[in-house]
């Protein structure tokens, strides 16, 4: 038996829709087998976790972040520049948002417990819940307009993500070092830098945070406003998602810059022949991508977490590995920006399914309840990605199986 692979004259009709959906179905099926075979997780539990997550309002925040990250990744992916470092770029966005939100935009007034009642109801003041080491209380007072502070957080986070990606971009463009390896390795550097910072420069000043790998909590006036109590999604996050999506769509589809990026991905020789500086485009693709990922850091910090929390083990960063998950979003969209929100919806459901599944594992025997939601998400996403990578071949090639001895 042998395989005959032939390039199609025209791409498979509706291949852009059929293949991603088929991959999701087959991938989830394979993941279910692995989950059952290795950890005795009943398949019904997996399917019900996925089913619930499809309509769960909790996945909305994940959807918002994945759409933004999908757009962030699709820009370099279109140029065949593989940014696997969104994790690190988000982390730096979080760190710099926290730097602005916890040091620049507020000052700390130390008050004795007897003076505390005066401050608790004073407008614009936020009393940190536990006392400081000396027994006094710390009150956060804004030093600037909250709107200005939030803008500043976003700008600085964007710059931080861009700079982090720029390093890998320069290494790729001028030294020809594979950006997949560098961006991935830089994620680990960012994780440890984050831990250094939550135990060092940005550690909290109260007894429950200082030295425990926790920062102070963000002033409520600087927190993004939630859409409803049922979801962690915020108005600011949704607005950013729409704006970033629209701008990226316009730039990729309607400008010379976008066209050149896409040509860089399909045929860089043409660009070189036209006298265009290819290196500049490689660097720009990664930098823009990093800047957008940095903004997600602010959305995560000011919209969800309000505090930097140490990374206990490398599998459980505060990002919940969403930077890796976003790779699946941009691939499932077949690198077409219009497909990003659809792919983000599906992947956000899988992501939420990992969390739902983890919380329903309590009854499963054999210690499987100890498996983290991150690992469960890896299983689901890994199998869908692998299936998709293989099935994607069918969009442009036809494969026939021929019996031996013809």
């Amino acid at each position: 038996m042998r395989l005959i692979v032939t390039k199609r004259v025209k791409p498979l009709k509706f291949g852009g829709i059929i293949i991603p959906f088929l991959s999701i179905v087959v991938g989830i099926f394979l993941a279910t087998i692995a989950l059952y075979g290795l950890a005795h997780v009943p398949p019904l539990l997996v399917y019900s976790a996925i089913g619930q997550s499809l309509i769960s309002p909790q996945m909305l925040q994940t959807f918002v972040m994945l759409t933004i990250l999908g757009v962030a990744l699709i820009i370099p992916f279109n140029a065949a520049v593989w940014n696997i470092g969104a994790e690190g770029q988000i982390i730096w966005g979080m760190i710099m948002s926290a730097f602005i939100g916890l040091t620049v935009a507020v000052r700390y007034i130390i008050v004795s417990p007897s003076d505390l009642p005066k401050y608790t109801n004073m407008p614009g003041m936020f009393v940190l819940p536990t006392p400081t080491v000396s027994g006094a209380y710390a009150v956060e007072a804004l030093t600037m307009n909250p709107g200005t502070a939030i803008c500043l957080m976003l700008i600085v986070a964007g710059i931080a993500g861009a700079v982090w990606a720029l390093i890998a971009g320069l290494m790729r463009a001028y030294l020809d070092i594979d950006e997949v390896a560098t961006t991935l390795i830089m994620n680990y550097i960012a994780y440890y830098a984050y831990n250094y910072i939550v135990y060092g420069p940005l550690q909290g000043i109260t007894i429950s945070t200082s030295g425990f790998g926790l920062s102070n909590a963000l002033h409520p006036a600087l927190r993004f406003s939630r859409i409803s109590t049922a979801t962690t999604a915020t108005w600011e996050g949704v607005a950013l998602m729409i704006a970033i999506f629209a701008i990226a769509w316009f730039v990729l589809r309607q400008t010379t810059f976008g066209l050149r990026l896409r040509i860089l991905g399909s045929n860089p020789q043409v660009l070189r022949a036209a006298g265009i500086n290819v290196r500049k485009y490689i660097v720009l693709a990664l930098t823009i991508s990093g800047a957008i990922a940095g903004l997600v850091g602010t959305i995560l910090f000011a919209g969800n977490l309000y505090q930097l929390i140490k990374i206990k083990t490398i599998t459980t960063p505060p990002t919940h590995n969403i930077g890796y998950t976003a790779i699946l979003v941009s691939w499932l969209s077949m690198l077409d920006i219009r497909g990003v929100p659809i792919a983000a919806y599906i992947v956000a459901s899988l992501f939420q399914a990992g969390i739902n599944l983890q919380s329903s594992l309590g009854g499963v025997s054999g210690g499987s309840a100890m498996i983290s939601s991150g690992a469960l998400t890896y299983v689901l996403i890994g199998f869908v990605l692998t299936t998709f990578t293989v099935l994607r071949v069918f969009a442009e090639y036809s494969i026939k199986v021929v019996r031996e001895g013809r």
Binding site: A31, M171, L175, L184, A193, Y378, G382
Partner: protein, 298 residues
């Protein structure tokens, strides 16, 4: 020199063996022209399998054998898919990396939460020396195989120009499957040594994650040359093995010492690319390129 100091110097043996074997396995596989981005995921699986198998069999050797077998299965799968189908090497590698991260937790975490024990290789200077000698012997054998044998020539040909190799009678698929098998056997062995000899602690989820990338950088910074890799692996192993020394004497934070190997990995890759090493030890020309023969059976 007193015995204590010798013990400290040779104590790097298990760490060296783990990183060195993984790095030369990676280099061997990439010599055949397949971009190997699945390394970290399979390394993580290798650690999980080594832990479980050693625990159940009661001997560390069983852990190494099991990790080797599982890693070989992954290697064959990657080599087959990347050669047989016009598929992006980067995409299949990263996808399998994610599968690996997930499977490692499924394999080891349930066991860990029921049994609180670790079976590992004995720890003494003699064993440390044995690890160093064993891994260097393997390295020399790999070097000999790649540079002096027919199979080595075929692997290099498949990596430089698979189309030309094929028309000269090399079965590219078979050669790449062999490279995938041998390369991943070494990666599985390295992963098992990482856990069973270098850091035998009760398993925790994510053990081994990121170490595969360090091995990736070790291999890359030595131009995938098995003998030169001895040097780069030794530097990295010393950095990792002596992290507490760095912490103590230089007063560095624990977070910074954990970061150093990754920084060193970046620096090593830069050094390799800016020095004449790059030209002398150029990567295989067909590395990561899709191998597709138009309108023909493959």
């Amino acid at each position: 020199m007193d015995a204590g100091l010798i013990a400290i110097i040779l104590g790097v043996g298990p760490a060296f063996a783990a990183y060195y074997l993984t790095a030369i396995g990676h280099g061997l596989f990439e010599k055949s022209g397949i971009l190997n981005l699945a390394i970290d995921g399979v390394f993580t699986v290798g650690v999980a399998v080594a832990y479980v198998a050693a625990l159940f069999a009661g001997t560390a050797v069983a852990g190494s054998v099991a990790a080797l077998v599982v890693a070989v299965a992954f290697g064959l799968l990657i080599a087959y898919l990347a050669t047989k189908l016009p598929i992006s090497h980067g995409a299949i590698g990263l996808s399998i990396m994610f599968v690996g991260y997930g499977l490692a937790a499924l394999i080891a975490v349930p066991i860990r939460s029921q049994i609180n024990a670790v079976v590992s290789y004995p720890m003494n200077v003699g064993v440390d020396v044995a690890f160093i000698i064993f891994s260097i012997v393997i390295g020399v054998l790999v070097h000999y195989m790649l540079s002096r044998t027919k199979l080595g020539a075929a692997i290099r040909a498949a990596g430089e120009n698979p189309h030309a190799a094929s028309s000269l009678g090399v079965n590219v698929l078979r050669v790449r499957l062999i490279a995938g098998m041998l390369g991943y056997a070494l990666i599985g062995l390295g992963a098992s040594f990482y856990f069973l000899a270098y850091t035998p602690a009760p398993y925790s989820e994510g053990m081994g994650m990121g170490q595969g990338w360090i091995a990736f950088a070790i291999s890359l910074s030595a131009g995938r040359h098995p003998i030169l890799t001895i040097l780069s692996a030794l530097v990295f192993a010393e950095l990792l093995y002596n992290k507490f020394v760095l912490q103590g004497y230089l007063g560095l934070s624990v977070h910074i010492t954990k970061m150093i190997p990754y920084l060193a990995a970046l620096v090593a890759m830069v050094i390799f690319m800016v020095t004449p090493l790059k030209r002398k030890l150029a990567p295989p020309r067909a590395l990561g390129k899709i191998y597709f023969k138009e309108e023909r059976t493959v």
